[in-house]
């Protein structure tokens, strides 16, 4: 049963291996075909798995562990290579392979002129494989393996243009940040193994409620350590600094990895381990708190950036904050629903932005864009749909998922008025910054230096249209998602209805759009007074709250300084010197007794034996 679930993983792996080995020897069009074909096959296999799952009665859809072989048995530690098929993993399969496929197709057009076309598709396939591994893993060990491989793929793709210094540095930053998260997860796995004697999800979650009382130390420790990994991967405070820099990679990468799939891994992790998190309510509050603070923190920074990709990157951080908020207040299926709609509209926004950048020969500065509405009608329309969905405009997909989370942040058991207020504030900011981008890029007259802005080729536009359709209509899937995931999360209570709160949130969103519009109409020159008034705040926001600089002074520089200090002082002048001194002392003493040095080997041998025997006597008769 569920043989197809292995095929889901196998195709992208074959794609990666094949393209790495033979990529340079086959034609470009075949590379594109192979790269996309493997993901299409994987998506098809996902559909087969899904239909197999749907044939089962709802209660029997969970806990299907598919074992391949026993991976290791060392001491008391035993582990199988296995994957877990249940609604949650299949749900993630669908997003990863579905959105992944669309982005692969787009990349065929976007990367057309890149000399290292095949390497790019090899990495993309590796990423899809790693992400599927992450969500398919049946235990914490292979979760970590997938987790780290995803980090590797992200590293490779951020640093794809490996001759660019900024890309190399950004890639290193992302990798090291993710390793910190990995270490947190490894330690979490150790604690889990010590507590449960197994790393298997099914067994751990089955026995957790009997093992822990709420807020037991071990439960808090495990959940918090797992969060280190989740926050690092999902760019939540304080491990977020790598995400904006990750925009050094090609735009389809930003869409696939840093918007639609990889960054949601942390959300997935909390959803997967929700049994543990429910036993640690303190951690849940912590997640919700960090989520909402990240949401507003990133949203505020997005309002002032001029790099189109950075704005969308901060927006991703902010939306992930919403998802963590949903996880923290225990409305898991809403969080997963927002994860899905976000994957649609954020991938759309990134790809549309990519289309703009592509047509302006790589220009990413908002101030040098403008007036593209007429030149790029399809890109314009799709971007608008994406922006509306992100802003939560009624009846778009983002409206259904975000509105539901905001409402729950007040009505859920752990909800409160603070969460709700900040969530609404962030919604306003979101609408403002994305429409600020929209007006900058598409309205007014051209400010670009590029001679021929043009609409992108069909192979890039069709993916945009597909995603736009999903972003527009995906909201209708809400009830289905909830019932499909119900076997994993348990049945959700009725949704709260409160038209007053809903209206306020809605007004905030539309207000944001309107503000962006008005400010744009008025024109920057006439806002100089306000700009001066708000300059200090603007400055802090523009410099990302100086977090990078703070980390540099507090962590990076001391680490390097200590490294040099250890090498110079501890190693050379300390240990090495001391050892040499001992040597010299011995030499000095032996000068004194050099009378014994007759030069005869026999005498030396005698001395040595005498020495050994003396020590021997000393030891034996002590």
């Amino acid at each position: 049963m569920f043989v197809s679930s292995w095929l889901v993983l196998l195709f992208p792996l074959l794609g990666f291996v094949g393209l790495s080995w033979y990529g340079n020897r086959i034609s470009k069009s075949f590379v594109g075909l192979a790269g996309c074909g493997t993901i299409a096959a994987s998506f098809f296999a996902t559909l087969v798995t899904l239909s197999e799952l749907l044939f089962l009665p709802a209660a029997e859809r969970v806990g299907h562990v598919q074992t391949l072989y026993q991976w290791a048995a060392a001491g008391s530690f035993k582990l199988d290579l296995a994957i877990l098929v249940d609604p949650l993993s299949v749900f993630m399969f669908m997003i990863v392979t579905g959105v992944g496929f669309v982005i692969h197709v787009y990349s065929v057009g976007y990367m057309r002129d890149d000399p290292e076309y095949s390497r790019f598709f090899a990495y993309l396939n590796l990423f899809i494989f790693a992400m599927l591994m992450l969500v398919a893993a049946a235990d914490f060990f292979f979760l970590i393996v997938g987790w780290a491989l995803v980090g590797l793929a992200s590293y490779l793709l951020i640093g794809f243009w490996r001759e660019k210094t900024s890309a190399v540095l950004a890639a290193r930053k992302a990798f090291v940040m993710n390793v910190i998260g990995d270490v947190g997860m490894v330690i979490a796995a150790l604690v889990i193994f010590e507590t449960f004697g197994t790393l298997n999800f099914v067994d751990v979650f089955a026995s957790a409620p009997d093992k822990f009382r709420p807020n037991d130390d071990a439960a808090l420790l495990i959940t918090l350590l797992l969060l280190v990994g989740a926050f690092a991967k999902s760019a939540q405070l304080p491990l977020h600094t790598w995400l904006p820099d990750a925009m050094e990679g090609p735009t389809p990468v930003s869409a696939l990895i840093h918007a639609a799939t990889m960054v949601t891994a942390g959300v997935y992790l909390v959803a997967r381990c929700h049994v543990l998190y429910e036993l640690a309510p303190y951690t849940m509050y912590f997640i919700a708190g960090v989520g909402i603070i990240t949401a507003v923190f990133a949203g505020s920074m997005a309002m002032v950036q001029y790099d189109i990709k950075r704005v969308i990157a901060y927006s991703t951080m902010s939306q992930l904050g919403y998802m963590f908020l949903a996880m923290g207040i225990g409305v898991y299926s809403l969080g997963m629903f927002h994860l899905m709609t976000h994957a649609f509209f954020k991938a759309l926004l990134f790809l549309a932005a990519g289309s703009v950048i592509h047509s302006l020969d790589g220009e990413q500065d908002l101030r040098k864009m403008g007036g593209l509405q007429k030149v790029m009608p399809l890109t314009h329309a799709t971007f608008l749909i994406g922006a509306l969905a992100l802003a939560g405009f009624p009846l778009t997909s983002g409206y259904f998922s975000k509105e539901a989370i905001i409402l729950s942040s007040y009505y859920a058991e752990m909800g409160n008025v603070f969460f709700w207020t900040v969530a609404v504030l962030t919604a306003g900011m979101t609408a403002f910054y994305i429409f600020r981008v929209y007006f900058f890029v598409f309205a007014g007259s051209p400010r670009s230096s590029s001679p021929h802005p043009h609409e992108s080729p069909a192979i890039m536009v069709i993916p945009l249209l597909v995603l736009a359709t999903l972003a527009l209509l995906g909201g209708a899937l809400g009830p289905w998602v909830e019932s499909f995931l119900a076997p994993v999360f348990g049945n959700v209570a009725d949704h709260p209805q409160d038209s007053a709160l809903e209206t306020i949130a809605l007004v905030a969103g539309i207000g944001g759009i309107a503000t962006a519009g008005v400010l744009y109409m008025v024109g920057e020159s006439r806002l100089a007074f306000f700009k001066e008034l708000l300059a200090p705040i603007y400055d802090v926001l523009f410099h990302k709250f100086y977090v990078d600089e703070i980390y540099d002074y507090l962590i990076v520089r001391p680490t390097k300084a200590i490294a040099t200090f250890l090498e110079q002082k501890a190693e050379r002048d300390g240990i090495d010197f001391a050892v040499d001194r001992v040597g010299m002392q011995v030499k000095a003493v032996s000068h004194g007794i050099s009378l014994w040095q007759s030069g005869k080997v026999r005498a030396y041998a005698l001395n040595m034996i005498v020495g050994v025997v003396t020590i021997l006597l000393f030891v034996v008769f002590m």
Binding site: S20, A74, K164, V168, I575, G583
Partner: protein, 503 residues
């Protein structure tokens, strides 16, 4: 069988001395043939080894000095099995690689073969005196290899290395002899057979002394922080073919010594010193990694990363439970593979660019795609990427440390230090990899070529093993496990009255 594995390289080493110096072809055939035969035999050994049997297999005995009951006694169990295979594997690679060496090739490979034989002897000897003889035998070829073919401050490095190790090993000789005397005191029987001596109960205070003597010898050889200061000098001076054997195989003899001698012979001492040694090992892990971050010379960087990784291995051994020790033995294999592959890569780069300095290296990736790929794989294994072999060992070791009874309260700190060194590993490995391979360089030499087929063949087996052990470590661990379990559950049967007396 086992004797053939040891003595084929040794005989070839002496045999080479009658080959004319100028006769390079014969030299190469003899050397490669001997190393290859030794590897083939050890692979045969691997497949005829009975994984379920925890005891010594393929035991060979023959009387050497009958008057003192010193025997030539060799045997193999799950721990030494892998060390033997690793040594012969690296031996062949190192010998083949040393054919690049043009100066006095004959003497060089002869010494390399002798070094390989000595290392194999250490792993296989079951007689304590025989062990000691092989232990010292390793030292002689190393002395000449570094002293004659080395670079930089080679004389200083050799003298330091030899004196340092000799201090340790002489004390070990004392402990070896007193071990037999203790056994004689209990049974009036002279024996140097380790299997018999293991069963002897030794008075705890006596254990402390003997443990410390053995400890010094092994700890210097590994080396454990802060007894490591010979290593950077020796590694920097050592020619790279010899370095492959030195770091890949010889550094494992120290860790192996702990497993073969200290753990079974002196359980009481191990229990009382474990926490201190654990801290030393963990300190070395962080210390080595931290210094590696500041290194500009690729060879020095790998040397310090070795100190860090060897600290990991020691930590696992002194966790004193199945998971930790099995992880350590696996990590010995992994480190042997990874470190030697890294040194090969350093050599490839140096041969082309004429420098190992990171400040002068940049942007090699476009000219050398094959090296780029292999380097990346090896680097990822070295920084412990989950899915590759390095992580398997590290994970098991950390698991062992975390669940260790002997570390008890310290476990948390030790695991955190392990975590820190993993983070540092990712930093220095990326410095090394990105610094040399990526970005753009304007002054690449003309005609810079990718690694040749011949070079690729040297490094390819290592790459294969890196992936294989990562995907499927079970066959490796399954052979280690029974030996480790029997080591942990050894029961002392001889001289028990001393214990009663001491209570």
């Amino acid at each position: 069988m086992l004797s053939l594995i040891i003595f084929i390289p040794l005989a070839a080493a002496f045999g080479l001395l009658i080959v004319a110096k100028e006769n390079v072809v014969t030299t190469k055939i003899v050397a490669a043939g001997a190393a290859g035969a030794s590897l083939a035999l050890s692979l045969w050994l691997l497949f005829s080894f009975d994984p379920a049997n925890p005891g010594m297999q393929f035991v060979q005995i023959f009387h050497w000095v009958p008057a003192l009951h010193i025997n030539y006694l060799v045997g193999v169990d799950g721990i030494s099995l892998w060390m033997v295979v690793l040594t012969t594997f690296l031996g062949l690679i190192a010998i083949l690689f040393s054919f690049h060496q043009t100066e006095r090739l004959r003497n060089f490979v002869a010494l390399m073969l002798a070094l390989e034989a000595g290392t194999l002897g250490v792993f296989l000897a079951l007689d304590t005196i025989l062990f000691y003889v092989f232990w010292e035998l390793m030292l002689v070829p190393t002395y000449f290899l570094i002293g004659i073919w080395g670079e930089g401050r080679r004389v200083y490095a050799t003298v330091k290395f030899v004196i340092y190790t000799l201090v340790g090993s002489l004390l070990m000789l004392v402990a070896i002899i007193s071990l037999t005397m203790v056994h004689y005191g209990a049974t009036h029987e002279v024996t140097f057979d380790l299997r018999v001596l293991m069963l002897t109960h030794i008075d705890p205070s006596m254990q402390m002394w003997m443990f410390l003597f053995f400890f010094l010898a092994f700890a210097i050889k590994v080396p454990i922080f802060p007894l490591h200061s010979w290593l950077p000098h020796a590694y920097m001076a050592c020619p790279i073919p010899a370095l492959i054997l030195l770091t890949g195989a010889m550094s494992k003899t120290g860790a192996y010594g702990f497993l073969r001698f200290c753990l079974p012979l002196f359980p009481a001492a191990v229990e009382s010193f474990a926490a201190v040694i654990g801290l030393m090992a963990a300190a070395g892990m962080v210390y080595g990694a931290w210094i590696a971050i500041a290194q500009k010379d690729l060879k020095a960087l790998v040397a310090y990363s070795s100190i860090s990784h060897l600290g990991f291995i020691m930590l696992g051994i002194f966790a004193h439970n199945g998971t930790g020790i099995e992880g350590s033995v696996l990590q010995m294999i992994n480190h042997g593979i990874i470190a030697s592959a890294l040194f090969l890569i350093v050599a490839f780069i140096e041969a082309r660019m004429g420098t190992r300095n990171l400040d002068e290296l940049r942007g090699l990736s476009n000219a050398m795609p094959v090296l780029y790929g292999t380097f990346m794989l090896v680097m990822l294994a070295a920084l412990g990427l989950p899915g590759l072999n390095g992580f398997v060992g590290e994970f098991l070791i950390l698991m062992g440390v975390w669940t260790s009874n002997i570390f008890s309260g310290l476990s948390g700190i030790l695991v955190l230090m392990g975590g820190l060194s993993i983070v540092f590993a990712s930093i220095y490995m990326l410095y090394m990899f990105q610094g040399s391979m990526q970005e753009k360089s304007s002054n690449l030499p003309d005609g810079l070529t990718d690694i040749h087929q011949r070079e690729f063949r040297l490094i390819f087996p290592a790459c294969l093993l890196i992936v294989l052990i990562g995907l499927y470590p079970k066959p490796f661990i399954d052979r280690i496990a029974p030996a480790v379990e029997s080591l942990l559950h050894l029961e002392k049967t001889v001289n028990l009255h001393t214990e009663e007396k001491s209570h």
